[in-house]
């Protein structure tokens, strides 16, 4: 009964993720595609929590649903006609794409079955503990250095975004200087 319930939860979540992802990929309407992505992200968060990774699940909701998806929707609404018109789209290299997918599928499926998965001995029977505090402690002890490097990564991403997005005030100032000197 327990096992049945487990599989039921898994398959429902997996269906939500796959179905909404497929809708995102095939829908001609960008707004609908973006909204459908919402269900993909939520389904994934559900899967993470189902697997006992509660912190990852919550981060998924905060970052992807709360941040990235909202940004994406803003982007879509700014750039396209929101009145429901489909955007023009084209599928290139259909043949090669299908071939690639089939090969990948045929490669991954047998591997999933052959691989001797390492299973935790008493998984399932044990009550799951929150993973938040071990992750927090880990980030400040064992993984302190990567944590700091990641902060540098965010810093350069910030600088990079500013450099790309802003105009060129210095150039204008120097060009103006050149103009006056030419006079």
């Amino acid at each position: 009964m327990d096992a049945l319930l487990h599989s039921l939860v898994f398959y429902i979540l997996a269906f939500i993720v796959l179905g909404s992802a497929a809708y995102t990929a095939f829908s001609a309407n960008l707004v609908r595609a973006a909204f459908s992505l919402l269900f993909t992200f939520f389904g994934l968060a559900g899967l993470y929590i189902y697997l006992g990774a509660d912190f990852v699940g919550i981060s998924q909701v905060i970052i992807y649903v709360g941040g990235i998806l909202v940004l994406l929707l803003f982007g879509v609404m700014f750039t396209t006609n929101v009145s429901g018109q489909g955007t023009e789209k084209q599928t290139l290299q259909m043949k090669w794409g299908i071939l690639f997918l089939v090969v990948l599928f045929l490669l991954l499926i047998p591997i999933a079955f052959i691989t001797p998965w390492s299973v935790m001995p008493d998984a399932g029977s044990k009550a799951l503990e929150s993973s938040v505090s071990p992750i927090g402690v880990g980030l400040l002890t064992k993984y302190l250095l990567p944590f700091e490097i990641a902060s540098l990564l965010l810093l350069i991403a910030l600088i990079g975004a500013v450099v790309i997005a802003r105009g060129e005030p210095k150039v204008r100032a120097e060009a103006a200087k050149e103009d006056t000197s030419a006079l």
Binding site: T115, P116, L145, L153
Partner: protein
């Protein structure tokens, strides 16, 4: 509530990284708070940071330690490589000083990003864990995406940046996917622990092979191995020339070092995995040598030609992984150092030969350069001959050593293909020299006087190429020692 044990933090072992990071942040703040800061001051600050990092790395010779809970490995190899990276970074800063004056970049941010990309390379060379390795690779990639797009007025630069970003993100996804599989199988991301696990069991586990293969594909994109090289010519052509040089030299070096770490730190040479891995690289190396050299033959743009030449060099360099012995690794390190000097030098000449709005881009633009700028033509010839592998340059010694390692490991076919493609490569390298010395110029290029910084960069690269070519023993000794310690 359990008490938290703070592990030992051995900051002295990552001194070069810390110094470089500090220098970058100081420049960022100076650029922000000091009004109208002179560009020369930023350059000097960057150079001071790089030189200090270089010497602090020098003090770390002989340390063979794992630090930061096994995330960082500080061995002699990482020190040698750090120093090579730092020399390269200094040359690029010198070139950038000249180039940014020509095109009015926001110089502070430019140098900061350049230093952070160097920092990423240092992190890669000292990684003993897939997490630090991945973060290092990302640090290098993301800074380079931005730097590629710095020439805002040029459409090519924007296009290059976008292409680089999309393919770079794609390749990072491959890497993470591979790392996830490896972690799933081994339950650790530490390369040394993975090595000891592999020696016990998981023999030939397909998921593990898939994981390593995906990692190889991801890194293959970064170092532009065929068939993952498609982005390289466009990106090299569009990026600002100093950044092209840095992508060609620094980022390629970093990718190779990442490969060295991933595939030699766990020491899987006895493992069945090694067979699959060597076979995979064998094909990649072969394809890369052929496609790179064939592509370079038909190029008309000098930067595209150098891009294909750099792809071809990726093929020669990956031969070291096929031979999979100590000699191969030593040859790889030596050739990477030699390659850094000759590539940066060649791009420095490309910068010096042009002026604002009038770059010599096509190979035919170099016609008659010898009459007008004999020094530049001589320099260019030196770097091209070294790239082709003529004695007495560094390129010759490096190639002999590399091909020798393949022959020693009895991969005769690969060595022969390497030698044949090298012969082909003489055609397109010599063509530029023929243009410079034997053709009259079609179009007049107004000369721009050589700046001090560019002269310095050119002569240092030339010195590097010649010293490594004539007295290779100095570096050879250091490299041989460092690989033994490994």
């Amino acid at each position: 509530m359990t008490s938290i044990q703070i592990p030992e933090l051995s900051f002295s072992l990552i001194a070069p990284e810390l110094i470089l990071c500090t220098a970058a942040i100081v420049i960022l703040l100076v650029d922000l708070y000091v009004k109208n800061v002179e560009r020369i001051n930023i350059t000097l600050l960057a150079l001071i940071g790089i030189v200090l990092a270089f010497f602090s790395a020098g003090t770390l010779y002989g340390a063979s330690e794992l630090a930061f809970s096994w995330l960082i490995i500080r061995d002699d190899m990482s020190v040698v490589i750090d120093q090579i990276f730092l020399i390269g970074a200094a040359l690029i800063v010198l070139m950038s000083h000249h180039y940014s004056e020509r095109y009015h970049f926001p110089y502070g941010e430019y140098i900061v990003l350049l230093l952070f990309s160097t920092l990423g390379m240092l992190i890669i060379s000292a990684s003993a864990d897939l997490i630090t390795l991945f973060l290092g690779v990302e640090l290098v990639s993301i800074t380079l995406f931005v730097l590629t797009g710095f020439e805002k007025k040029s459409l090519l630069s924007g296009e290059a940046s976008l292409k680089y970003l999309l393919l770079g993100a794609f390749s990072s996804a491959f890497m993470v996917y591979g790392i996830a599989f490896i972690f799933g199988m081994c339950r650790t991301t530490n390369l040394i622990s993975i090595g000891s696990l592999l020696s016990e069991d998981f023999i030939g586990s397909p998921l593990l092979i898939l994981g390593f293969a995906l990692l190889l594909v991801g890194l293959g994109f970064k170092i532009a191995l065929a068939p993952f090289h498609m982005w390289a010519p466009d990106v090299y052509q569009g990026a600002p020339t100093p950044i092209t040089a840095w992508i060609a030299a620094g980022s390629k070096l970093a990718g190779f070092i990442a490969l060295v770490r991933v595939f030699s730190l766990p020491d899987i040479s006895f493992h069945p995995l090694a067979r699959t891995w060597v076979e995979g690289i064998w094909w990649l190396s072969l394809l890369t040598m052929i496609i790179g050299n064939a592509g370079a033959l038909v190029q008309k743009d000098i930067k595209r030609m150098l891009a294909y030449s750099s792809i071809a060099h990726g093929g020669y360099l990956s031969m070291a992984f096929v031979s999979h012995n100590d000699v191969g690794l030593q040859a790889l390190l030596f050739y990477l150092a030699a390659y850094l000097f000759m590539t940066i030098g060649a791009f420095a000449v490309v910068i010096a030969a042009g002026r604002h709005g009038e770059e010599r881009r096509r190979i035919s633009d170099f016609a008659g350069l010898a009459k007008r700028r004999p020094f530049l033509a001589a320099m260019m010839s030196l770097f091209l001959l070294s790239l082709a592998g003529m004695p007495p340059t560094a390129g010759f010694i490096g190639k002999v050593w590399l091909f020798g390692s393949a022959i020693q490991a009895q991969y005769y076919g690969l060595a022969i293909v390497g030698i044949l493609t090298t012969l082909f490569s003489f055609y397109y390298y010599l063509r530029v020299i023929v243009y410079m010395y034997m053709r009259d110029e079609e179009k007049e290029f107004e000369a721009e006087p050589l700046s001090v910084s560019l002269t310095l960069a050119l002569s240092l690269s030339a010195l590097g190429v010649l010293i490594l070519g004539v007295f290779p023993n100095t570096l050879m000794k250091v490299i041989t020692n460092s690989v033994i310690v490994l």
